[in-house]
Subunit: 315 residues, 2 copies
Amino acid sequence: MWALRPWTRYTLLVIAHMLAMGLGAAVLQALESPPALQFQMKLKAELAAFQAEFGACLPHGALEELLGMALRAQGHGVSTLGNHSEASNWDLPSALLFTVSILTTTGYGHMAPLSAGGKAFCVVYAVLGLPASLALVAALRHCLLPVLSRPGAWIASRWQLAPSQAALLQATGLGLLVAGTFVLLPALVLWGLQRDHSLLEAIYFCFGSLSTIGLGDLLPGSGQNLHPVIYQLGQFALLGYLLLGLLAMLLAVETFTKLPQVCAMVKFFGASTPVTAEDQDGIVSQDELALNNLPPATPASKQALACRQASDDCK
Amino acid sequence: MWALRPWTRYTLLVIAHMLAMGLGAAVLQALESPPALQFQMKLKAELAAFQAEFGACLPHGALEELLGMALRAQGHGVSTLGNHSEASNWDLPSALLFTVSILTTTGYGHMAPLSAGGKAFCVVYAVLGLPASLALVAALRHCLLPVLSRPGAWIASRWQLAPSQAALLQATGLGLLVAGTFVLLPALVLWGLQRDHSLLEAIYFCFGSLSTIGLGDLLPGSGQNLHPVIYQLGQFALLGYLLLGLLAMLLAVETFTKLPQVCAMVKFFGASTPVTAEDQDGIVSQDELALNNLPPATPASKQALACRQASDDCK
């Protein structure tokens, strides 16, 4: 089956991806054009009404100039309105949240460096910090995955599940746990704290943060004139949430990518030469030898190893 | 050496990371507080001057209300000023760029969905689309890495380099190629096209995009009142740049993480049980058997395999 040359297959995959992007863009356009247009019309009407009412005493262009400056300022996280203390833009919690949003590649963009020095520092800091963060996550993964896989292994041995079923059960359990603990629960808390946002908006914010998309709209606490102490505590909470949540999300993703079922799919699309059953057996028995300092390999881990090998050996 | 228990070692690593974050935040605060404060003071002065001059004919709060609405609108990508055509917020190129910024997790945030439907669609689209994008990148990696590693292999065999040196040379070459082609070159082009931005700002934008941080300040073409056709072409160019550049960046990162030198470092921090030379030899010879449909394994690939195995077997 699928007797296509690898390059043809890859081209088809890329085209399918492009089509999915086009479809997404078309749906978003259909959903978002009307409200955006409506918002813009309303804004223009307000502006026109303002100028019709007070234009007589305002020189031409004075209002536009002021608006332009306020908008540019907001783009850099400098707030125009509100009663924040004057130094609140780059207070330590905000600066820490900004640093974490750089290191996790979330990049909300609610604030951004203004000076050339700040921009240069951001680039250098990310060039050094991103590999270090990746290495830290890799190290923590090694240390946490065995702990997290214990309940699944216990259930599998208790219910005598087939290896692939046990792996799927474990990954699904971890996925649901992470989604519940780091998306649904924080969204509910956020919804409870900020009643002017809907639950959907809270989920949208939490999911957008942990997927590192970080659009930065609906950032909790922004534009609400909160007491500085509460605002700063909120920034610290968000910071801890980002770090812990992202680690949990990466662990869940890692568990899913190691699933035999997922590997089989990657093999189906990715492998340029079919792997024979004989090859796989060979690999498994050799990997077992290599793992002689671990508990006896369960069939599930055998399958995962064979799969890792199979997906690696077409590199 | 490093006779610490694994958990102590991990805790120390995490603490070191936290300290690095604190240091980054402190430097950014020192660099950015003065210009941000200065900008804010200037803005407040302008606002005060405006109100002193024209306040007599403006009712209290009217200007603040207008400003607040314009700032909220900008947060959703709805432009207040400028002569854009009215439908330009979610035209097809902009919607496509937004979709790509979601799928690559860059999330500039220069526009964001306003409607509940748009937000729900974004979440569902990302939940389905991000794993698909990851799978596509994995498949393309399998297909492109062998091609990209050919020049390195040729140089290594020609100059008779040691395996680890050859791997390092190859990774460095690929890294420099990607940095040159996808950061420096586009930054130079951007700098040439937008003379109001400095070269540092162009590099900051390109690096911020490909690292998927995507702060969204300094987005090319925004707020410049470009001709719609040129603006849309620019959006398409940015879209293609993001997709190609990110793929190249991921390939380079993948090559670096497979380096024997990097693996040795991960092993140093991550492995909970030391891997003996005997184990490693065993693994290598077994992996060679498994790779019998590939050209004879070079010592470099042996080392890489041993390293992968060593870093995998403490999972």
